[in-house]
């Protein structure tokens, strides 16, 4: 029995933390949040140089040959830092190519993807919250037309992994033409989104796309759950720090039982929930039969926890918490993103029950 991180896994997280401390001091994050750029390119390049973007890709193709757990541990730290980088879509597109691509597609894309020379993203959502492979409706074929919503870094991506009817997946190079991305005024300014319109765009299908899209979705759920845990744990930390600094009635507000109990309740909500994303990532790597339900449960639970944690943390900050100037808003908005992207908690709870075969079906 070993349900804890290994020394290597801890070092991996420490390395990411160190980089984030160097490259993302509070003013830099503020700048990224208020600025026009889709993400912090310097930070993203350094993350890629450090190998964080190709952890899960084969060593022979420039990756580190690790698994989803390691990727999720990075996602956790990015969530903790509210890092303005296009990690999620890039990591998922890489996973999809590795699992469902042809040898030629893998050789062509994965080394450049692992190095960060090419930016990829996933174009999955359609109107009315249709994020799931079972719900995709764009017709497959060599020429692709239709609209995808809420594509992370859609304007900046060199390569898009597009979800198609029947759960098929195809690669579209944005430089080939027929791809028009327009920015969405999105709530989470640390992860910008675009609407992407395809008009007779050249599409290169993944041969095993339909066979792997569900598994890639599950990985996406685990990474969002990991980001949500990282964000929620940061909220708890911010709330605790603020309570120990802010003085009223001659003492720090951390002395008041109302505040202490609010923070204790938050700790009880947040701290044990880490195990849900650990477990979901671990079974994704080692017990695939358990992965779909565990991923759905982790996503549903942790995204609710993150929204709750962010709201409580704003409240602990009082009037200051309600200002644009207060950094807590980064996580409040990040929580809203994590909650909605790839389907909301209600949907994934319903999926969990279904995947566990409850009821008469």
């Amino acid at each position: 029995m070993n349900f804890d991180l290994s020394e290597e896994q801890r070092l991996l997280q420490d390395g990411v933390d160190r980089l984030l401390r160097e490259e993302l001091p509070a003013p830099r994050l503020r700048e990224a949040f208020d600025g026009d750029a889709a993400f912090d390119a310097t930070l993203w390049n350094r993350l890629c140089e450090q190998g964080a973007c190709g952890l899960h890709l084969p060593e022979a193709l420039g990756g580190a040959g690790l698994e989803l757990l390691e990727l999720a541990l990075v996602a956790e730290r990015l969530g903790y830092a509210a890092a303005p980088v296009p990690f999620w879509g890039h990591a998922l597109a890489g996973l999809a190519i590795d699992l469902g691509g042809s040898e030629a597609q893998k050789r062509r894309w994965l080394p450049r993807l692992a190095a960060g020379d090419v930016l990829t993203s996933v174009a999955w959502a359609e109107t009315d919250s249709r994020w799931q492979p079972e719900q995709w409706s764009l017709p497959p074929g060599p020429s692709l037309s239709g609209v995808k919503e809420f594509v992370p870094a859609g304007r900046e991506a060199d390569l898009l992994l597009v979800g198609l009817a029947g759960g098929e997946l195809a690669l579209v190079e944005t430089a080939d033409g027929g791809v028009a991305a327009e920015p969405v005024e999105a709530i989470d300014r640390t992860r910008r989104l675009d609407r992407v319109r395809f008009e007779a765009a050249r599409a290169d299908p993944l041969p095993a796309g339909a066979a792997v899209s569900s598994r890639v979705r599950d990985a996406g759920l685990v990474l969002l759950a990991a980001d949500a845990f990282g964000g929620a744990s940061r909220c708890l930390e911010l709330a605790v720090d603020y309570a120990q600094t802010r003085e009223q009635f001659g003492v720090t507000i951390a002395h008041f039982q109302a505040v202490k109990h609010q923070l204790a309740n938050l700790a009880v909500e947040v701290e044990p929930a880490r195990s849900l994303f650990w477990y979901a990532a671990h079974v994704f790597d080692r017990r695939p039969a358990e992965a779909p339900a565990s991923a759905a449960l982790a996503k549903a639970h942790l995204c609710d926890v993150f929204v709750h944690a962010a709201r409580e943390t704003v409240e602990v900050h009082g009037g200051f918490g309600y200002t644009w100037e207060c950094d807590v808003q980064f996580w409040l908005k990040r929580a809203v993103f994590d909650r909605a992207v790839l389907g909301d908690p209600d949907l994934h709870r319903a999926r969990t029950a279904e995947l566990l075969d409850w009821g008469s079906g």
Partner: protein, 401 residues
């Protein structure tokens, strides 16, 4: 990560299973009066094999095993699966034995531990008083040294199984002039004597497990004190630790969840099975999220305990997690049993779905016993998050101490 137990521990699991198969069987416990004899015989054998009473030295009737949290977990799992009895239930094994092992005099260990392990001595806890609940150290029951004896006057309350007990272990004030916490001693007291009057209290469920106990010149020998005079507070802390650890376990949450799943599996919402109802499914998966979080966190606690590492904040949250899960489950159960919730649950074994009302009420008991949820929140805040003590009670030790 590796959720397996490894070959050595899996071999141990196989050995435990084989033992259970041959010594306990599959039918669970027989009915009374056969049950008690069968259980104590089984416990003797299981202790002989090193499965029970592992932390108790052999000379006191235990099996004196090298600490191994994985083996302990395997034993809990396998005994649970076979519905075989673990150690003798009650405050004796959970509180008195660990306390005596840590703080007791040699003669006390020899005298009290073996019969407690064997289930021959039953114990009741004399801690809370009408005026001393969460603020336990303000207790007023006093003991005076008269010749070779302590003479005790005062009142204890919420004393579970006092009428069945052979002995009390209790906190009393022996140094009235000392500061609050320094004036308390830990005494062992024979229950069957004229100076003790026990009145049952009827609980919210209608049962009477707990009592109030009046001490009016009750006596106990001078050397039945555990630790020194005035050290009772520190001595008692060892036992509370044990009780918290026990209450916090994920095993009970899982058992409760399994019962709920069985209930949901045979309940209906309108014309369709309850488990087909989208609302019920949603609520149940919400509970499942908390349940799995506690279960998987338990794997981490186990991993760290096996390596002798601390788990920090996570350790302090266990009881509140369990209390929440039990409360959520009770709410769902009420929904599932429908109008059966209008029936008095009664205490007979043949009762129907309304027995879930006992869990509904019992979950409140769990949130109060062994440190109320608000006291637990102080503990999480102070010990887990490093927040300061409450402002209005300066000069008092914090919940974390």
């Amino acid at each position: 990560m590796d959720l397996g137990y490894g070959p050595e521990h899996e071999a141990f699991r196989a050995e435990v299973r084989e033992f259970l198969e041959s010594e306990w069987g599959r039918d669970g416990a027989p009915a009374e009066p056969e049950r008690e004899r069968r259980e104590s015989e089984f416990r003797r054998k299981a202790t002989g094999r090193g499965y029970l009473n592992r932390g108790v030295p052999r000379r006191y009737g235990g099996s004196e095993q090298t600490p191994d949290v994985l083996r302990a977990q395997i034993i809990r799992e396998e005994f649970g699966r076979a519905r075989a009895p673990l150690e003798v239930p009650g405050a004796g094994m959970m509180m008195v034995v660990p306390t005596l092992l840590e703080c007791g005099a040699e003669w006390q260990k020899e005298h009290f531990i073996p019969p407690t392990v064997a289930g021959e001595y039953r114990w009741a806890q004399g801690y809370s008083e009408p005026g001393a609940g969460s603020d336990l150290a303000s207790l007023k029951t006093r003991a005076e040294r008269v010749g070779d004896e302590w003479t005790i006057h005062g009142q204890k309350i919420w004393t579970s199984y006092a009428r069945e007990a052979d002995y009390f272990f209790m906190l009393v004030r022996t140094e009235p002039d000392a500061p609050k916490h320094a004036g308390i001693s830990y005494l062992l007291v024979p229950a069957d004597q004229p100076g003790i009057e026990i009145q049952p209290l009827k609980q919210i469920t209608g049962e009477s497990q707990f009592n109030q106990v009046f001490f009016d010149g009750a006596r106990t020998p001078a050397d039945w004190i555990v630790g020194e005079r005035g050290q009772g507070w520190q001595v008692s802390r060892t036992t509370l630790r044990h009780e918290r650890g026990h209450i916090g376990g994920a095993d009970r949450s899982l058992q409760l969840w399994n019962s709920l799943m069985r209930l949901a599996g045979r309940s209906r919402c309108g014309d369709s099975p309850a488990l087909d109802d989208p609302r019920i499914r949603d609520l149940m998966v919400q509970v499942l999220g908390y349940l799995r979080a506690q279960e998987y966190s338990g794997f981490t606690l186990l991993t760290r305990a096996a390596r002798g590492q601390e788990a920090g904040l996570l350790e302090t949250t266990s009881k509140l997690q369990y209390s929440r899960i039990a409360a959520l489950i009770s709410k769902l159960a009420l929904q599932l049993i429908g109008d059966s919730s209008l029936l008095a649950p009664g205490l007979q074994p043949e009762r129907g779905d309304e027995r879930w009302l006992n869990q509904f009420m019992g979950s409140l008991g769990m949130a109060i016993a062994g440190g109320t949820s608000n006291i637990q929140r102080n503990l999480v805040a102070e010990r887990g998050l490093g927040l300061p003590r409450d402002a209005p009670v300066r000069g008092e030790p914090s919940a974390a101490e």
